[in-house]
Amino acid sequence: MKKIMIIEDETALRDELSVLLQNSGYEPIAVTDYDNVSEQMKAAEADLILLDINLPNVNGETLLQDFRKQSDTPVIMLTSRTTEIDEVLSMSYGADDYITKPYNPTILLLRISAVLKRSAKVGAVQKFHDVEVSTVKGSLTRNGSEQILTKNEMIIFQLLLDRQDEIVTRDELMTALWDNDEFVNDNALSVNISRLRGKLTELGLPEAIETRKKQGYVLK
């Protein structure tokens, strides 16, 4: 389970973030003592850090700058500061992403998984059972037979694969598609999923995507 450290001084927000991360299969570590955040950041050995800019006694940007001298653990800045200047500064100090409050929880989770994937240096080829998933070619290969996925189908399959054996809601799939400039509607999503099912059936996996009524889909 990936460990995610939360450095956020607003209690309500911190607690809700912990719940959100826990529900999404991460292990949250919440910082509650702001006297030696820098040391805690180094000691925690987290896989990813969510860092606020306005903290008691200390500035998140300074923390990040300091932290980057020793570690390349991914850091996402979560902040209510909404100027481009803050974003550019944070990115230049080595932040991996910059998200402003209030954030869409689904987007936040998508960004977290994208940053984690980038840092884990997942290769161009992933495995789903005995199917080879090539994101570069946008194809699924099993026992020598290949199915080419469209961009939309690949986005859907990728999200299901990242959360294999978990329920992914239609809302999450929709957000992921829109985030990739595919402004599809409800019908188009259903069509894409049934086409994806068709292609998996061609590969001999007709039961791969399971529908959970009123909840979403699970890739098994």
Binding site: E10, A12, L13, E16, L17, V19, L20, N23, N54, S80, R81, T82, T83, E84, I85, E87, V88, K101, P102, Y103, N104, P105, T106, I107, M174, T175, W178, D179, N180, D181, F183, N185, D186
Partner: protein, 333 residues
């Protein structure tokens, strides 16, 4: 300064001279001074007065003409006192002193307002940051409790907060934005995702074309501008929003078009005016007349052109023009 005006202004002095000359004549006649002597004395006095008056006239004319000319040429009239010299005649010096003094006092007064304005804006910024925390918390609570009921209202609250923030920013004299290459595609996708629920609820389709272009702007400000335009399209019954960009060597033009109720021709010149709501404002309750006004102010500050085209009942199109500079090439390197 006209000579006739000057002479008119000096009329009292001439009357005094005239009266005393008449008195002098009477006395000289009474003392039986010769006629020639009287003529000579009168001529000397007359010439002396004429020369003295001409000297006085030209001395003042030189100074005041320059002053008026300066005033005429200046586009910021209040800078006049910085542009004038201290003259060598008494009333001019008094005027000069007065001008310097009032100018100084006005500068202090303006500085005071500017400081108050700045403090107020900083407070607004701070307040916005603070109010966003509970909004963010409630939004996460909704998600964690699987309760989407409040999300829409939260989104509205957040939009209104953003409005205040950008209104404060748009009126600010200081530069608190940075211009750098920003992807139109990425910015538009972010705004689309933010508004996805409402767009889908209203069955609005999005069409984009040729947005894979970087423009020189402030990403956050552009995001706000696009959000406002999208909000308007949703408010005014659009069922399709089409966003396209055209790239030219010297500029990029963004067309934000919807097929909503459109704007009456008579209202079109005023849509960027503050608190203008027009006919659509009367038929649609939520109109404040601030959205497009802020958009216009932000575009002006960023140096983008913004214009609108519309046919009532058919479409509304907002056109934003982004300039390109050599700077673009520099930042790309």
């Amino acid at each position: 300064m006209k000579l006739t005006d000057y002479l008119k202004d000096r009329l009292t002095a001439y009357l005094i001279y005239g009266t005393s000359w008449v008195l002098v004549l009477i006395f000289m006649a009474a003392f039986r001074i010769s006629f020639q002597a009287i003529i000579i004395v009168s001529l000397i006095l007359l010439l002396a007065i004429i020369f003295a008056e001409l000297w006085g006239y030209f001395r003042k004319k030189g100074y005041y003409d320059k002053l008026l000319h300066c005033l005429d040429e200046l586009d910021k009239k209040y800078l006049l006192s910085e542009m004038t010299d201290n003259p060598d005649f008494l009333d001019g010096r008094i005027l000069y002193e007065v001008m310097q003094e009032t100018n100084k006092s006005m500068c202090e007064h303006i500085a005071e307002y500017r400081r108050e304005n700045k403090e107020f804006r900083e407070y607004i910024e701070l307040w916005v940051h603070e109010i966003k925390l509970p909004v963010a918390s409630v939004q996460l609570m909704c998600h964690n409790d699987n309760n989407a009921k409040y999300s829409e209202q939260l989104k509205r609250i957040d939009d209104y907060i953003e409005n205040v923030l950008y209104y404060a920013r748009s009126g600010n004299a200081e530069k608190d934005y940075i211009i750098k290459p920003v992807s139109l595609k990425r910015t538009f996708a972010d705004i689309a995702v933010k508004n996805r629920e409402e767009l889908q609820e209203r069955n609005i389709t999005l069409q984009t074309d040729n947005l894979d272009i970087d423009v020189m702007t402030d990403g956050k400000w552009l995001g706000f501008i696009l959000g406002q335009l999208m909000g308007n399209s949703m408010k005014y019954e659009a069922s399709e929003i089409s966003v396209t960009a055209e790239d030219f060597p010297d500029k990029t033009i963004l067309h934000f078009r919807d097929n909503g109720c459109g704007i009456p021709e008579s209202d079109l010149p005023y849509i960027f005016d503050k608190t203008f709501t027009g006919e659509n404002g009367r038929t649609h309750k939520k109109s404040t007349g601030m959205g497009l006004h802020i958009v216009k102010k932000l575009c002006d500050k960023l140096g983008h052109g913004v214009a609108a085209k519309s046919i009532q009942g058919e479409y509304t199109e907002i056109i934003i023009t982004f300039g390109k500079h050599d700077l673009h090439e520099v930042t790309k390197l």
